[in-house]
């Protein structure tokens, strides 16, 4: 930016663009949140203007960010020719507005980094000279900025916005007015955002208006010649002093430093006179530049064409576009990895909440993997005991305030004054902060881990315990070998070092126990054939300490696959084996891994073939196929949870094994279901190896309970995921790891919330693998809003979709698939309709489909949910087991993985593979990884495509892809049936590149192993099964395509609108 600045000669052309007014406000702001202005200092500078600022300062800031996005639109106007012409009467709301609005979100973060508070301050002095001549007041305010200041106060500060709006008689002043106040707030608070907008917008202008000018353009369309004049000398004259290093940000500040408002304060007559004239149109403009996105759906008369080009439909091609508005408002919040709210604006009344038809809640992933350098700090309160609020039991967190010279602290959640224990006492400095703040991560970080004293234990911390329950009945798939090898290779990496316990039971029509006492050389096998009265043949030694009995365990793992190789017994006494495992494990708890290869057929808990009944589909009994058949399993699951046993179920059969029933074991114990249909060691070995290894070696929290607390008036009511509730709000999790997320919905207990902010605190009490009892605490604050528009603006599609999916899957357990899909659709329609009603009054919406920018992908994801394996079609569209396994898996997925599964990535890779460049370089170049819409139209017969849903890769070979290339990739048997071809690295560049690419993708997302499936265009039925049915934008098998879906939603939204 600094470099562009000198280019200002082009300025003369500026008159076309200049909304200098709004801009002027932004720079101010931009410094605002970043630097955290001290209220007092800030205020006194712009007293005149501050009167107008809305009182509701607390959420102004986020409004700002959102609204700022919209401001980009005017910025785009100058080169509007490039865009499709507006179809409606909204000159500044072209249908293509969507694309433009993309920028701000991603930009936020970068901006936040660009101007670290202090540096910018440091930089500013350099800038001041140029700025001063224009407006003196500006310089004062930045100087007074105080980093500690919370954002809300900024509201008072933005004088510019005030002055800007003031002259405009049309602009409503009341903060209640959603539209305008939002727009106004933008200016006030959105500094970082606003800042971000500019750099983004700039590129488009650079050709014609380089550098500094383009920023001006951004601000708006109403030129203010006077101002630009005032600026002219600056760029020219002051460029030399301007440091080359100055960031774009600075440049903006310089540019904006001449806010008319400020000028007016200073008494610049010229500016003041100009001002009223210029502001008025601008304010109107702002009113019109709405904060929704839209596209037109209106058929051209006389044609059947819907008038809607599927290309303009919003798609999450860059993956999860997470918006960090909340973390900007509340920088002390925990990362969104751990906690995501469906909307950051908590409704302030029940009536408002009832108009929010989307789920209101949160998705929590308490142990999400943190990137290097962002690990959760561990705090040891050994001397003081853990500091918690006496009344609401909230843990001490960054939002508590210390008073009374540091002797008391006020709970942020319930406002109770608590005593500070003597050992924890620290003096407060002049600004009321503890002087030891730097050494107290619990007061500066949203996520911390406390080491829990013995009060938090009901028994000594348990050692990590792994118990394997393996079905050995007539297994021919090679599963046993793979499992044994994998376990053996992981023995050194199991968690817990010398404390780890391990045990095995195998079963067919009898149960086999293994005595692995350390004094033995070979494990002793004991066979029990009495299935009705299961007992434990040995009191100990069925579960042994791994390090002590290592040789015996090794010997067992070496020998047992061969032992059962010739087994012809086809029965499976699963129920009795489960009981035996429970008896063995009930003392300690731990993790039970079940490898089930066939339908349980003997003893208690035997199941019958029930999934093949096609007649059941479409009737009221349909859902029964998806719920456990035998209450035995639920009871076992409950008992397992009670005894701190987590169950992971691995299913391998090609035939029906009733995973709906087996999966309940995982569901209520915090476990997970892995399903490998028609397992063949040759094909699935890598996948099973990787996933089993990850399952037993990833960091795990044992015997844990989780509770999420929130402030007064709000309560979490329902919970969704794989766990069992121990009391109304206590989630029992025998084992948790980074791949598990839990969703919950909240409701308002009081008709009206009086607080400005709601605090959420997730606390996970667990035993670490090292045997330490710990409490992981994530704290987040969210503003309370009074306006539905703000809730929409602060909505988080990822969290909403995550909750939606879980609700839909739960619905399939009580009703038909069709109804579950309908419920998803209905809620989306309701939400969009409500949003439409919100805006219909002020705007001529006509045939346009409008939606909040924050939810632009909601309809598409909704469609994806309906087409996901768990919910798609009917009998013929997915095997019952597959469906249930998908359902259980999705109930536990973290947000990002869920989104990826719902809308997988489709990329073209053939050109990339030909490049000679090294992989490392390319990985930085994100451009080539832009995803393609998931439609058959994206597939070029000459191309090679990679489809990645996080669980598998599908490589699609176009029919016209050159045979040489295929041969290079697949070797000699490139023409063979692809189901028999496996991908391996060959000695040529392309193949190496491909394997490198796949491995890179696998590493970036290692919670599951993505097995590659090769599919040739036109190869039936593989192509259909692996790829075509998953191209969710296409109408497949009677389901809607994306376009039809949108049309359908639109029609329904307009009904009774």
């Amino acid at each position: 930016m600094g470099t562009e600045y000198p280019n200002s000669p082009a300025i003369p052309s500026r008159p076309a663009s200049p909304f200098s007014v709004p801009q002027s406000s932004t720079p101010f702001k931009s410094s605002g949140p970043v630097v955290g202005p001290e209220a007092s200092a800030f205020r006194h500078a712009p007293p005149s203007s501050s009167q107008i600022t809305p009182p509701s300062s607390s959420y102004g800031s986020m409004v700002g960010t959102e609204a700022s996005a919209f401001r980009t639109i005017p910025s785009g106007m100058p080169n509007g020719a490039a865009r499709p012409p507006p179809t409606s009467g909204f000159p500044n709301m072209p249908p293509a507005a969507g694309p433009y609005q993309h920028f701000p979100a991603p930009q936020f973060s970068s901006i936040a980094q660009v101007p670290p508070p202090r540096t910018s301050l440091a930089g500013q002095p350099v800038l001041w000279p140029p700025v001063r001549p224009v407006s003196g007041s500006f310089s004062t305010s930045p100087v007074s900025l105080n980093p500690t200041q919370p954002p809300p106060v900024q509201m008072g500060s933005p004088p510019q916005s005030g002055s800007m709006v003031q002259p405009d008689p049309v602009a409503p002043r009341s903060p209640i007015d959603s539209q305008f106040s939002a727009a106004r707030a933008t200016m006030q608070l959105s500094s970082p955002t606003a800042g971000s907008v500019y750099p983004v917008a700039r590129p488009s202008f650079q050709s014609s208006f380089p550098g500094y000018i383009s920023q001006q353009t951004t601000a708006g369309a109403q030129a203010q010649p006077r101002q630009s004049l005032a600026f002219h000398p600056k760029p020219g004259g002051y460029v030399p002093p301007m440091p080359a290093a100055s960031s774009p940000y600075f440049a903006q500040q310089g540019g904006y430093a001449a806010p008319p408002s400020v000028a007016s304060q200073l008494g610049h007559p010229r500016e003041q006179i100009r001002h009223p004239g210029s502001t008025h149109p601008m304010a109107v403009m702002q009113g019109l530049v709405e904060d929704f996105s839209s596209f037109s759906i209106g058929s051209v008369p006389g044609s059947f064409d819907s008038g809607l080009d599927s290309k303009v439909l919003p798609r999450p091609l860059e993956g999860d576009l997470e918006r960090n508005t909340l973390s900007e408002m509340f920088p002390l919040n925990c990362s969104s990895r751990y906690l995501r709210l469906t909307t950051s604006g908590i409704p302030n009344s029940q009536s408002l909440a009832s108009r929010w038809h989307l789920p209101l809640g949160a998705v929590v992933c308490p142990l999400a993997e943190a990137p290097n350098g962002e690990e959760v700090p561990v705090v040891n309160f050994a001397q003081t005991g853990i500091i918690r609020c006496k009344r609401c039991r909230t843990y001490v967190n960054p939002y508590v305030t210390f008073t009374d010279g540091g002797r008391k602290w006020r709970c942020n959640s319930c406002a109770l004054l608590n005593d500070v224990p003597g050992e924890y006492f620290a003096h407060l400095d002049a600004s009321g902060r503890r002087i030891d703040l730097d050494q107290r991560p619990e007061l500066t970080k949203g996520s911390v881990e406390f080491i829990a004293p013995t009060d938090y234990m009901v028994r000594p911390p348990m050692p990590p315990l792994y118990f394997f329950l393996i079905d050995v009945s007539a297994v021919r798939s090679g599963m046993l070998e793979v499992v044994a090898q994998t376990i053996k290779s992981c023995l050194d990496n199991l968690l817990g070092f010398s404390r780890t316990q391990i045990g095995f039971i195998t079963y067919d029509s009898t149960l086999h126990f293994y005595n692995m006492k350390s004094s033995l050389n070979q494990p002793q096998m004991m066979v029990m054939s009495d299935l009705d009265d299961v007992f434990i043949p040995l009191p100990d030694d069925l579960v042994v300490n791994l390090s002590e009995s290592r040789t015996v365990v090794d010997a067992f793992l070496d020998s047992f696959p061969s032992m059962f190789q010739e087994n012809t017994n086809v029965e499976s006494a699963f129920g009795p084996a489960l009981r035996a495992a429970f008896m063995v494990m009930s003392q300690l708890g731990g993790k039970l891994l079940i490898f089930q290869h066939s339908l349980p057929s003997l003893g208690v808990g035997r199941l019958r073939l029930r999934g093949d009944d096609i007649r059941v589909y479409g009737t009221d009994k349909e859902h029964i196929l998806r719920i456990p058949e035998d209450p035995f399993y639920k009871q076992m699951a409950a008992d397992f949870t009670k005894n701190q046993v987590a169950v992971n179920v691995y299913g391998f059969s090609d035939k029906y094994t009733d995973l709906a029933t087996l999966g309940t074991l995982a569901k209520y114990t915090g476990g997970q279901v892995y399903y490998y249909p028609s397992f063949q060691a040759a094909v699935h070995k890598d996948k099973l190896c990787h996933e089993l290894a990850r399952d037993i070696t990833r960091e795990t929290a044992w015997e844990s309970v989780m509770r999420i607390r929130c402030g007064k008036g709000v309560r979490f009511t329902t919970y969704h995921g794989n766990f069992m509730l121990r009391s109304t709000d206590l989630i029992a999790l025998p084992a948790v790891d980074c791949d598990k997320a839990y969703a919950m919905q909240l409701s308002l207990e009081e008709t009206l919330l009086t607080s400005q902010t709601v605090y959420f605190q997730v606390a996970l009490l667990y035993t670490s693998s090292s045997g330490e009892r710990r409490i992981r605490v994530h704290t987040a604050a969210a503003p309370v809003v009074a306006d539905l528009g703000e809730m929409y603006r602060m909505a988080d599609t990822g969290a909403i979709i995550s909750l939606f999916t879980r609700l839909a899957i739960e619905k399939t357990l009580t009703s038909k698939l069709e109804e579950a899909r309908k419920s998803v659709q209905l809620r989306i329609v309701k939400a969009l309709r409500e949003y439409r009603n919100l805006h219909a009054v002020q705007h001529r919406l006509g045939g346009r489909m409008i939606y909040p920018e924050s939810l632009k992908c909601l309809p598409l994801y909704g469609l994806a949910i309906c087409k996901s394996i768990a919910l798609r079609g009917g009998y013929a569209n997915a095997q019952p087991d597959e469906r249930c396994a998908a359902g259980y898996t999705m109930m536990a997925l973290p947000v990002k993985k869920m989104l990826k599964l719902l809308y997988p990535q489709l990329i073209r890779i053939d050109e990339y593979l030909l490049k000679k460049t090294s992989l490392a370089e390319d990985s930085k170049d994100k451009g080539i990884w832009k995803g393609l819409p998931l439609a058959a139209g994206s597939l070029d017969p000459q191309g090679l495509y990679l489809y990645d849903d996080g669980f598998r890769f599908v490589l699609w070979f176009g029919s016209m892809l050159s045979p040489d290339r295929v041969k290079n990739l697949l070797g000699e048997n490139f023409a063979a049936d692809y189901s028999k071809v496996s991908l391996r690295e060959l000695d040529n560049e392309i193949s190496r590149n491909l394997m490198g690419l796949l491995n890179k993708y696998r590493e970036s997302d290692s919670s599951y192993y993505q097995l590659s499936y090769l599919v040739r265009q036109g190869e039936k039925p593989r192509e259909g099964y692996f790829l075509l049915t998953n191209l969710i934008e296409d109408p497949v098998g009677g389901a809607n395509g994306y376009l039809d879906w949108i049309m359908q939603l639109h029609r329904q939204v307009q009904q009774n609108a």
């Binding site: 639920k634 009871q635 409950a638 009391s727 109304t728």
Partner: protein, 135 residues
Amino acid sequence: MGDLLSWLFSFFLLVAVLGTILYQLMCLADLEYDYVNPYDSASRINRGVLPEFALQGALCFLHLVTGHWLMFLICLPYLYYNIKVYIDRCHLVDVTEIFNQLPWEKKIRLYKLGYLVMLLAFSIVWMVWSIVDDE
């Protein structure tokens, strides 16, 4: 005299059904306020369910054989509901889902309670009537 006895007997049966329902409601309330864990609560409630059904069935049967047709008819819907949930095998509360079912289970039992109180009132009226009639 026989009529009075049968009324008395049905009255005590009714009170017994009422007692089981109240007991279950109490367990649910305890669970809601976190006084007991779901395991104990579920097993206590489930222990009360079958006796409740049996007693109610006996009550119906008694009304039938003693010729209290109207009372029998009033009891029938309750009996039908019980038989239906029993056949659907969802008469027991599910310990794993008990918190999700809590509002529904409570509602059902409150309805039953109201219904039984009404029956009780009828019973008493009829009993008094039969006493008066006797004399």
